[in-house]
């Protein structure tokens, strides 16, 4: 772990800033920012593996985090027996038929000689497969969604400890990444970008509309949490004592403690990941990855299977994003597919990586802290600024109201500018690669 | 020396170590000068230096007595130098005629007579003028490339291995065309891998070794020189 005094100083400044938020704004806000920063740091770490180590451009971070989030529902939620009885079998069978259709068409593609006949055969397999699948799947899906739709209407999960969902989320994301990587790696570099952009939109569409899976836009709430909830902490005597000594309200104290619990968990995960990532980066494997990134042609000429290496790192990085996605859902205790926005979940992470310093794990972490802090704070700052700027206008002025309303979008502008300025004037980021 | 085009005592390289060491290349009006030499001798580099695609540390390039050492390649084109690169020397998705038009891009006058002259020189191009240049055969593409460079009505035409990768028959034909071009008063400076055939048509030959002049003489004299024959022409 090679951190210079300057890097440590930058982290210290960030710590002081957060402490000031705790003092002048509220401790809860500071904890919320800290926790989200930690999660973002993990996402940024995943992206940094892909971009910083291998130069792969992933524009589908949102999709990988969402898939990771789905794992939380599927692992931690109790199953819904009525729903399983109503259509569980049908859905499983339908999914299997779908997979079988694709496999069958792949087999036809591989076995038959190229030609018009093969095209027809594949088309036929797909049509028949589609009809069969929809015959089985459609009614089962409707049946499941009809079971107690106000609070359930989905199959539920496996009722396992929620912490288990974190690695599972990583595996889910890795699976999706493998598929995408298999298709688009080895072609030109921007094809991967476009393919990941597409898959992330589709993941969100599936999450929103397949209500049997995770209730779609109706959201799954009240998911079991890995840390005691503030409500359950409040009646505890030691919490009440602590509140009294600190002079805070009991609810405030409870939520700070609960939040700190998450911070601890996240820190452990982040620590392990950084340790692994640093070790990997400085191993022969890491050196090879960077050699490939810096000169793909000569690496290929030396007989390295560049595409396979790329696939590997792409899957690994995406898995880390999935892990972060699962962590985020389990912190919120709910999954809300409607809230997944590409600007927030994909492009903001990119700003973090670039600002922090691509190719440097610590840089990605610092970038995540800085950018998330700005993301949270620029909006109120923008509002305040607009308020000041328009204070000369009448209270009822249409323009003033419009400007105040639009202050929220200042942060998009700020983030874009931050990205452009860093890219232009300090392309190596806050903590450069070494 | 007062040659029409001369790169005198050129020394320089791409950034790092020097490739050319006080190398001199010159061509007279209406003559053919050929640069030959073993692989890696800096033949193409010498030509690129004359054309300004390489920054010289020492030496000068003069065209018709004017010092053009500091001019960019584009500016040299405007001064009357035409250059045919060895590879990717055409616009593949554009038609033959459009290729020629692009060659004349910097001209503001009517260039239809020049195009007519190019078609006279390479009749096959007239037949194929509506075809995409990328679809033509290797020899025809070389003709397009030379034709494109002629569109500016240059006083000097520089060719970087024009016969690389074409069949012997096509090569002979190309050399014939090049002689024809020279007869119209255009000076030709050319780098060639096929040293023997090239020296046969050359008024002047330069044998380069490791970026420096080894032998300089008329083409016939070099062909007759036993040392040159032994070392560079395979006996």
């Amino acid at each position: 772990m090679s951190l210079t005094a300057r890097d440590l100083g930058l982290f210290a400044v960030m710590g002081v800033v957060l402490a000031m938020v705790a003092m002048f704004q509220s401790p809860q806000l500071a904890i919320t920012i800290l926790n989200m920063s930690l999660i973002s740091a993990i996402m940024a770490l995943g992206v940094n593996m892909q971009w910083g180590y291998a130069g792969l451009f992933n524009v589908g971070i949102m999709g990988f985090t969402a898939v990771g989030g789905l794992a939380v529902v599927l692992i931690a939620q109790p199953p819904v027996p009525e729903a399983w009885a109503a259509g569980g079998l049908g859905i499983m069978l339908g999914l299997m038929l779908g997979v079988a259709t694709i496999l069958a068409s792949v087999i036809v593609y591989k076995r038959m000689a190229p030609g018009r006949l093969r095209g027809f055969a594949i088309f036929g397999v797909l049509v028949v497969g589609y009809l069969l699948t929809s015959q089985v799947f459609g009614p089962a899906k409707l049946a499941v969604q009809a079971v107690n739709p106000a609070s359930e209407g989905y199959l539920g999960g496996a009722n396992l400890p929620v912490i288990l969902s974190w690695p599972v989320g990583a595996v889910f994301a890795a699976g999706v990444a493998w598929l995408i990587g298999k298709i688009s790696l080895g072609l030109r570099s921007d094809y991967l970008a476009i393919a990941t952009l597409g898959i992330s939109e589709i993941v969100i569409a599936v999450l929103k509309h397949e209500r049997w899976l995770a209730r779609g836009v109706n959201n799954v709430t009240g998911i079991d949490r890995p840390v005691t909830r503030p409500v359950d902490l409040q009646p505890l005597p030691w919490v009440q004592d602590l509140a009294e000594t600190l002079g805070w309200s009991v609810s405030q104290t409870a939520s700070v403690i609960s939040g700190l619990g998450y911070s601890g968990l996240f820190l452990i995960v982040l620590g392990i990941l950084i340790w692994l990532a640093e070790r990997a980066l400085n191993s022969p494997w890491g050196r090879m990855m960077r050699a490939i990134r810096d000169n793909e042609v000569s690496a290929r000429a030396m007989g390295k299977d560049v595409t396979r290496r790329h696939l590997m790192i792409f899957v690994l990085g995406s898995a880390v994003c999935g892990l972060a996605g699962a962590m985020m859902v389990s912190m919120d205790g709910q999954i809300t597919p409607g809230s997944y926005e590409p600007l927030r979940f994909t492009f903001l992470i990119w700003v973090m990586v670039i600002v922090g310093g691509s190719g440097n794990n610590w840089g990605a972490v610092l970038g995540a802290f800085v950018i998330w802090f700005l993301w949270v704070q620029v909006e109120p700052a923008g509002r305040w600024f607009m308020d000041m700027a328009t204070s000369g206008m009448a209270e009822t002025s249409e323009l003033r109201r419009h400007l105040l309303d639009s202050a929220a979008y200042m942060r998009l502008l700020t983030m874009g500018l931050a990205l452009l300025l860093m890219l232009r004037f300090a392309p190596r980021g806050l903590i450069p690669e070494r | 020396m007062s040659a029409f085009l001369i790169g005198e005592a050129m020394t320089g390289g791409y950034g790092g170590a020097d490739i050319l060491h006080s190398c001199t290349i010159a061509v007279e009006k209406g003559e053919i000068a050929v640069i030959v030499g073993p692989n890696g001798a800096g033949k193409s580099t010498a030509m690129k230096a004359v054309f300004g695609m390489l920054k010289l540390r020492e030496g000068t390039v003069r065209l018709a007595g004017e010092d053009i050492t500091s001019l960019s390649p584009q500016a040299r084109v405007a001064k009357g130098m035409g250059f045919v690169p060895q590879t990717s020397n055409i616009f593949p998705s554009m038609t033959v005629e459009e290729n020629l038009e692009m060659g004349a891009f910097i001209r503001t006058d009517d260039f239809s007579t020049t195009m007519e002259q190019v078609y006279e020189l390479f009749p096959i191009l007239r037949d194929k003028r509506r075809q995409a240049a990328g679809e033509l055969s290797g020899g025809q593409r070389q003709q397009v490339a030379v034709g494109r460079a002629l569109m500016t009505q240059p006083s000097v035409l520089m060719l970087d291995e024009p016969t690389a990768g074409v069949s012997p028959i096509v090569m002979d034909e190309l050399f014939d065309r090049i002689i024809e071009i020279a007869r119209t008063g255009i000076s030709i400076l050319m780098v060639e891998q096929n040293a023997r055939q090239a020296l046969e048509i050359a008024d002047k030959g330069y044998v380069l070794v490791q970026g420096a002049n080894r032998y300089t003489d008329t083409g016939q004299a070099l062909l007759a020189d036993p040392d040159v024959r032994k070392s560079f022409l395979g006996g």
Partner: protein
């Protein structure tokens, strides 16, 4: 069996909307493909730039409406188009000067350009929302229909009706005219040919005395025109929401790649293929088959292959198929 009614039904609910949508995509994809062939990067800010251009046109429309100027029965927005185009030419040239030109000079890798275009996307997005918010804005005025379902039924006496909205008709006609002008420009003018030459062989274009900065400038100007037209027509047709424009990015890229990146004709063909596939696969065919099947055999289900929510999945599937089987696209674009 009533094939005529079936045909009218398909035309009304699928063919006409898909034709309009495809035309809008084509104008957008043309911009992507042009930028790709000249500046050689995937322009991720395309959707959001389109939104900003439309916002400028909407601003102009509001101004004109407030002045009481209009061109009934055509939408006032058409009158505001030149204003929007000028604004976007200024914007794109400014962005190029401040952002991309530097990377051209240092010969940065294509991915750096893409990254920069992400930053531009953010900024553009922010500016658009500053002006327009995130909600939907409708700015279509003038006659809404060339003819309505009712009128069509009265003329033809068919059970099914066909309506042609003026925004749709306008889109299709404008797109055709613009494409023709663009091809004339690229194939017949000196500037257009110099663009093609630059796209074909950058070094040789330089040797021939073509000024790259000029080619880049012309490219941005054309892109601005295409963007504003595409965005405005899309907005007239479906209403203006910034996020929808961002989401157009995927179908536009899919269209450009399907046709072959760098090939203008490919971008157009690709756009229509994407539009018809999206519409066709998410369209409920029940009504059509009710007319086509003999009595007693009418379909009972919706006969919809995929719900409308999955139209991006269709686009994506097309993209995947192209990447798997023919990464150069139908018209053999560049695979640099």
């Amino acid at each position: 069996m009533e094939p005529l009614n079936a045909l009218v039904s398909v035309a009304n609910f699928m063919l006409v909307p898909a034709l309009a949508y495809g035309s809008q995509l084509a104008l957008g994809a043309l911009g992507i493909t042009l930028i790709y062939s000249i500046l050689r990067f995937a322009h991720f800010a395309h959707g959001d730039t389109m939104a900003l251009g439309t916002a400028a046109v909407i601003g102009g429309t509001w101004f004109l409406q407030a002045q009481g100027i209009g061109i009934q029965p055509l939408p006032t927005a058409l009158l505001a188009l030149p204003f929007g185009i000028l604004v976007m030419i200024g914007y794109l040239l400014t962005v190029d000067r401040m952002v991309y030109r530097y990377y051209r000079r240092v010969k940065a890798k294509p991915m750096i350009f893409v990254m920069a275009s992400l930053g531009v996307m953010f900024v553009t997005n922010g500016i658009t929302r500053l002006f327009m918010g995130v909600g939907e804005t409708r700015f279509e005025d003038g006659g809404r229909f060339l003819f309505t379902v009712r009128e069509f039924r009265e003329w033809t006496g068919l059970a099914e009706g066909l309506a042609l909205r003026s925004a749709q008709a306008l889109t299709i006609i404008t797109a055709l005219v613009v494409m023709m002008v663009l091809f004339w420009f690229l194939n017949r003018t000196r500037a257009g040919k110099s663009m093609r030459a630059y796209s074909d062989n950058e070094d040789l274009a330089l040797l021939s005395g073509i000024n790259p900065e000029r080619v880049v400038m012309i490219t941005w100007i054309i892109t601005a025109i295409l963007l504003v037209l595409a965005g405005t027509l899309y907005g007239l047709d479906k209403g203006f929401r910034p996020f929808n424009y961002f989401q157009l990015l995927l179908p536009m890229f899919a269209a450009a790649i399907l046709g072959g990146l760098g090939s203008p004709i490919g971008a157009i063909v690709g756009a229509y293929v994407v539009a018809f596939a999206e519409m066709g696969i998410t369209y409920a065919w029940r009504r059509v088959f009710t007319y086509l099947m003999p009595e007693g055999l009418e379909p009972t289900s919706m006969m919809q292959l995929l719900p409308v929510d999955y139209k991006f999945a269709v686009t994506f599937a097309i993209l995947v198929i192209v990447l798997l089987f023919r990464p150069t696209g139908i018209f053999k674009g560049k695979v640099l």
